[in-house]
């Protein structure tokens, strides 16, 4: 599975860099490197909801503060 984090202008300013780092850390802590990849992506067309994150065909709106919760409730649930 792939988590796409938008790094377009609006998303970058709202914290894409931190979110990518948080996801990378959570993936390695939870031994999920075989199952999940984090990739950056240009504009996902949802600039109003920055930072846009695409996972499992859906676009989510994630902030650095909510990244861990998003990871646990959406990503882990789906993958594990």
């Amino acid at each position: 599975m792939v988590i796409n984090v938008c790094i377009g202008s609006a998303c970058h300013l709202k914290g894409s860099y931190d979110i990518i780092k948080i996801f990378e850390k959570l993936i390695s802590e939870n031994d999920m490197t075989e199952k999940v990849d984090v990739k950056a992506s240009f504009c996902l067309g949802n600039c109003v909801g920055a930072v846009s994150v695409r996972f499992d065909e859906k676009i989510y709106s994630v902030q650095p503060e909510t990244a861990e919760e998003f990871f646990n409730s959406i990503v882990r649930k789906k993958v594990c």
């Binding site: 938008c6 790094i7 377009g8 609006a10 984090v38 950056a40 240009f42 504009c43 109003v48």
Partner: protein, 389 residues
């Protein structure tokens, strides 16, 4: 006929505000004349001597005056230093024609270097005495692989009183130039490398004004910078086709713009996350495209870098930053070093999300940013065209 590619810059002596070295360039239809002059002493006095010398030489030679007359005029014009009872300023005159023929006249500066593919070529020089001054004249030709490098003595003395007892020294500078020339390095990169090296040896506190000048002949480099989607989405296809058909390299700045380009090229965008920093979004890879970056933030950072690069006081500090591996540094390097002519293809589509009050970089910001970039690049002596789509 070739494009004559010149680059020069100086590090000012520590604690001085003015540079005692000066480079003057004159562009003629078939050639370019460069005069590098190093005035006696440092600060205001040296600056006046060097500026006068190089301006007189460049202007007179441009108008077709002989070397004798030019030197005679310089000698009789320079103000005499009250302490040293001397009116003195060195010079190196280099005239490069667009067919590769070169004329050089040197007085008291370190001899010029002629570097080609890791080798240093010897230049046959003729000694002449004009007004009691010993001048070395030479005529030679260069090809696309050769580079002429001239330096002021601040380069060969780099490190004196700091990290190197005897300074960098001419043969070491020569070896360094030979080494970097193996990778067919540009003139701009050459002066950046050499000045950065000098700054390191001087430990950031140059003991003398330090100047490097590099000249080369080559084909003109054009960059087509595509930023912002066209106002009318139906024109995406025709605009992209026009850009891809244009002469020169293509650079894409903007997430949506990159998505359009990828769709037209029929391929996936691959993002190189290793180039991502907390302040600059990463670069992406697309076939046929020289560089793909995010738009407004990256361009803004690149403008900051280029502005500092053009400012003599800030330049030494910015050199290492220009060598970093992030989108803004790569864009700035490309525009400084690999661009003689810049075509800006500016899309006028408005991203509604960017117009929100919380977003600091709306449409007007983008348009002004492009104008600023165009001005900046034009001031560097390059040709700039803007096309709004």
């Amino acid at each position: 006929m070739f494009f004559i590619d010149t680059a020069y810059n100086s590090i000012i002596k520590h604690n001085e505000e003015l540079c005692g070295d000066h480079v003057e360039q004159v562009n003629l239809p078939d050639s370019k004349i460069l005069v590098l002059s190093d005035g006696l002493g440092s600060g205001v006095k040296a600056n006046i001597l060097a500026t006068l010398t190089s301006k007189i030489a460049a202007t007179m030679l441009k108008e077709g005056a002989s070397l004798e007359d030019t030197i005679d005029t310089i000698v009789h014009t320079l103000p005499v230093c009250s302490e040293r009872k001397l009116a003195y300023s060195t010079f190196t005159i280099i005239k490069v024609y667009n067919d590769g023929n070169v004329y050089a006249a040197e007085f008291d500066n370190p001899s010029i270097f002629l570097i080609k593919n890791g080798e240093s070529k010897e230049i046959h020089k003729v000694k002449r005495v004009i007004n009691d001054k010993i001048i070395y004249e030479s005529n030679f030709t260069i090809d696309e692989e050769s580079m002429i490098v001239a330096v002021s003595d601040g380069v060969v003395h780099a490190g004196v009183g700091k990290s190197l007892n005897l300074g960098w020294q001419r043969e070491n500078v020569e070896n360094y130039l030979k080494e970097i020339s193996k990778n067919n390095v540009s003139t701009k990169a050459t002066i950046r490398y050499v000045l950065n090296q000098c700054n390191t040896y001087y430990e950031g506190e140059a003991g003398d004004d330090t100047t490097v000048l590099a000249v080369k002949i080559r084909k003109q480099n054009t960059i087509n910078l595509f930023t912002g989607p066209p106002k009318n989405p139906e024109e995406d296809f025709s605009v992209v086709n026009e850009i891809l058909a244009a002469e020169g390299k293509v650079v894409v700045c903007g997430g949506t713009t990159a998505n359009i380009m990828a769709r037209m090229l029929g391929c996936e965008i691959e993002i190189d996350v290793s180039t991502m920093t907390s302040t600059v979004p990463p670069v992406a890879i697309l076939p046929r495209i020289e560089l793909v970056t995010e738009g407004v933030i990256t361009i803004n950072k690149a403008i900051e870098l280029i502005t500092s690069y053009n400012n003599t006081m800030e330049m030494p500090r910015i050199l290492p930053k220009l060598q970093e591996r992030n989108a803004a540094a790569m864009l700035a390097r490309l525009l400084i070093e690999d661009c003689d002519k810049l075509n800006l293809w500016v899309g006028q589509a408005i991203n509604p999300a960017h117009q929100a009050e919380s977003f600091p970089m709306g449409f007007n910001f983008k348009i002004n940013q492009i104008k600023k970039l165009a001005d900046l690049i034009e001031k560097m002596g390059k040709e700039v065209n803007i096309k709004y789509t």
